[in-house]
């Protein structure tokens, strides 16, 4: 135990004392704030491109719909040039569309909107353009057309024009609240999503960064031959354990520092988030509602997150989350340590680490789909699979209630994967640490594992 502490202490103190660690820890939150603030600086996060209305409107409907749509577009995008309306015969529509394609290619317009009888009926409208791939732009155009068609139909049904205008401008915000096992939960769902995403991303980042730190540390001991002296004083299992625990605590320290610094920054400079009109503190529901009403995107939600307090994460879930990190870290760290012990040079190590990195990156790849649909079978599977559970389970848990049996199952799975990884890596480490020369083949590795004692 004494030696474990000595190894642990060295790993921890040497890292925490290093210049880059201190800089990274201090600048981490600043960097985060910058990333959150950038969309606001450009101011177009929610509007899509400002040039949406610079399009041809080809009106083959024979009802003057084109001009009405154009007016609506101009009203919505006063800074945009266009739109350019051409009223044509239904028979000529395709010829006109081809003309517009040429105009788009010459960059005269961004796209072309084709209105015909199907549009008047409220069935369909065609849009071709450079930005046809942008959901925001396409949605914006669709909404404009839809509102105009709606107004037309209401007018035909005999509703007064003024009323039509009022109706078509109904703004309906949706205020959502998550229901957990203990009823309606505090905090807004956008913040919950952000928290889930943040937690998963942070876990992933910490495992990648500090897992590789362990790998390099092992390689350093091996290539400088310090390992020779060290293993004559302490057995390799203790050395490996001390290393993983020491570096793990470095990661935890950094996360804690970020949380504290980040929270402090959001507390004292809420205007960075562009939402500084609410007094800080007072985590009541009206503040939450106000905040979310004024929120324009994730950035403000982050501010809200702080103002309204963290969305309630029960103690059990917090412990499960922590276990996920600890077990996941140990799992990947021991694999990385084995990789470090296998090779002799910086050149070889990246290549040798590829399989472990692939495991990690493939778990991260599933973050967006799980975020979009946390109740899907994909989400369930990925949150149970031992290699991805440490990252996906926390994400799922913050988004939706997960039956405790699944959480326990996932943790049990990760634990056994951990035990297997430690067993395997311990053996590779023991032999590899004092083995110089070329990189071992898979067969040689198997022999190391068999023969290690």
């Amino acid at each position: 135990m004494g030696k474990l502490l000595v190894v642990f202490k060295r790993e921890y103190l040497e890292r925490v004392r290093s210049k880059w660690y201190i800089i990274g820890t201090l600048l981490g939150p600043a960097f985060l704030l910058l990333i959150l603030a950038i969309p606001r600086l450009f101011g177009d996060e929610a509007q899509g491109s400002r040039d949406v209305a610079r399009i041809d409107v080809i009106d083959a409907s024979g009802t003057g719909l084109g001009n009405r749509v154009a007016d609506a577009l101009r009203a919505k995008y006063p800074l945009s040039r266009g739109p350019y309306v051409r009223t044509v015969d239904a028979a000529k529509a395709s010829v006109e569309a081809d003309r517009s394609v040429l105009r788009v290619q010459r960059e005269e317009v961004l796209g072309a909107l084709l209105l015909d009888s199907a549009t008047v009926a409220g069935d369909s409208v065609r849009y071709v353009g450079r930005n046809a791939g942008s959901h925001m732009d396409v949605d914006a155009i669709r909404n404009v057309v839809r509102n105009v068609v709606l107004a037309d139909q209401m007018a035909r049904a005999g509703i007064d024009a003024k009323q039509v205008d009022a109706f078509s401008h109904i703004r309906l915000d949706i205020h959502t609240q998550k229901i957990g096992d203990k009823g309606v939960e505090k905090g807004n769902p956008l913040a919950v999503m952000l928290l889930g995403y943040g937690v998963a991303l942070l876990l992933y980042m910490m495992i990648v960064v500090y897992g590789q730190a362990i790998m390099r540390s092992v390689l350093e001991e091996k290539s400088t031959r310090v390992a020779e002296v060290v293993v004559s004083s302490v057995d390799t299992d203790t050395l490996l354990a001390g290393k993983i625990l020491g570096v793990g605590l470095v990661a935890v320290t950094q996360v804690l520092a970020w949380v504290v610094l980040g929270a402090a920054a959001l507390m004292y400079f809420p205007q960075i988030m562009g939402n500084g009109n609410h007094p800080a503190g007072v985590p009541d529901s009206s503040a939450a509602a106000n905040a979310i009403a004024g929120a324009q995107g994730g950035a403000s939600a982050a501010a809200t997150l702080v103002k309204t307090g963290l969305p309630s994460v029960p103690l059990g879930a917090t412990i499960a989350l922590l276990l996920c990190f600890v077990l996941g870290f140990i799992f990947y760290a021991s694999l990385f340590a084995a990789v470090g012990a296998m090779v002799n040079s910086q050149e070889d190590v990246q290549q040798a680490a590829t399989p472990v990195m692939l495991l990690l990156v493939s778990s991260a790849l599933f973050m967006p789909p799980v975020l979009a649909n946390p109740t899907s079978n994909l989400a369930k599977t990925m949150s149970m699979l031992p290699t991805s559970a440490p990252i996906i389970m926390p994400l799922r848990m913050t988004l939706v209630p997960v039956p405790w049996i699944e959480v326990v199952g996932a943790l049990a799975g990760v634990s056994s994967a951990c035990a297997a990884a430690i067993w395997l890596s311990g053996r590779i480490y023991r032999v590899g640490l004092l083995m110089y020369g070329k990189k071992p083949t898979i067969r040689e590795l198997a022999k190391w594992v068999r023969e290690a004692r």
């Binding site: 004494g2 000595v6 190894v7 040497e14 001991e221 400088t224 002296v229 004559s232 004083s233 022999k447």
Partner: protein, 321 residues
């Protein structure tokens, strides 16, 4: 309490078909300086690593300082300087040394005191500069070697194991190392070191063991070993350029088994059944002027060549050093 510091019995270690150490038995008395001699690949480092419980023998027993070698805490009483040396490059020298001492169970405060003492003693801490505060990679190679040597001895071990301690040392550090070995012995410590430099071994060691191909060739006190091989070696020195005249005599295989030709000084090994008196008469008959003709104790180097043979030499043995 056993009077043996190291007691190795019938130890075997095989690697992947080849035998690194084969049925090796060694006894190193407490308080002695012991040399483990052999060509590269003879199994010296494997033996040392087994002593330190870094690798486990396939069979046989090892007892260190009267205790089975896998006993917990035993390594705290052993100091080890590996052949491949190195320290954490980016770490402050003091912190590295403190780490090494703490690994051996020395409390931090006591470690600091000893580190100061050693740094001053090996001139790494002078009134002008305290190299202990520098990072390891700011030190010259010679200074790093000193630092590593300090790390080996900080916990005041009863048994000191040095693997090829003289390789790569500059003459000043080599001298400091020799002094330290002598001083350690004077304080009752046991020192075992491996080397392929016979001159060092002959001067420093009380006892030696020569191993080749994982097997013990011979062992015992240096004096006894040399005596056991005496009567077969003749030192012959002649005056002037007599090479051509005595060449036929020295080339007589019934008389002389081997010649170590040092130009005007020859070390001869008599052939089995060869007679020293007859040899002397034959040399006199050539008419050269003899300045020395003496039956001598062979040097370790000679014994090594005789027992391990030219094959060992080809396999990396570098003889005099």
């Amino acid at each position: 309490m056993s009077d043996l510091a190291i007691d190795i019995r019938n130890v075997v270690k095989r690697y992947d078909g080849h035998v690194a150490v084969s049925d090796l038995s060694l006894a190193v008395p407490r308080g002695s300086v012991y040399g483990l001699l052999g060509p590269n690949g003879a199994g010296k480092t494997t033996t040392i690593r087994m002593l330190l419980n870094i690798i486990v023998p396939d069979s046989g027993t090892i007892t260190l300082l009267g205790t089975p070698h896998r006993t917990r805490g035993l390594t705290d009483r052993i100091g080890y300087l590996p052949e491949e040396r190195g320290l954490y490059k980016k770490m402050q020298v003091r912190r590295v040394l403190r780490f090494l001492a703490e690994l051996k169970g020395v409390p931090g405060r006591e470690a600091d005191r000893r580190i100061d003492e050693w740094l001053e003693r090996l001139e790494l801490k002078t009134p002008e500069r305290d190299w202990g505060l520098a990072k390891v990679d700011e030190l010259s190679r010679g200074m790093q070697q000193k630092a590593q040597f300090i790390g080996t001895l900080l916990h005041d071990p009863d048994l000191v194991i040095l693997d090829e301690p003289f390789s790569g040392l500059d003459p000043i550090n080599a001298q400091a190392l020799k002094d330290s070995i002598v001083e350690l012995k004077a304080r009752g410590k046991t020192i075992i070191f491996s080397t392929h430099l016979m001159d060092n071994a002959e001067r420093l060691c009380d006892s030696v063991c020569i191993i080749a191909h994982g097997q013990k060739v011979l062992d015992g006190g240096v004096a006894e070993v040399r005596k056991a091989h005496s009567g077969r070696m003749v030192a012959l020195a002649v005056e002037g350029d007599a090479r051509a005249r005595i060449a036929p005599v020295l080339g007589d295989k019934s008389l002389v088994a081997r010649v170590d030709d040092n130009n005007r000084y020859y070390e001869l090994e008599l052939a089995p059944g060869g007679d020293a008196q007859l040899l002397l008469r034959r040399v006199i008959d050539t008419g050269v002027s003899i300045t020395r003709f003496e039956l001598v104790l062979p040097s370790l180097h000679q014994i090594f060549l005789e027992r391990v043979g030219a094959r060992g030499v080809e396999e990396g043995m570098s003889g005099h050093g």
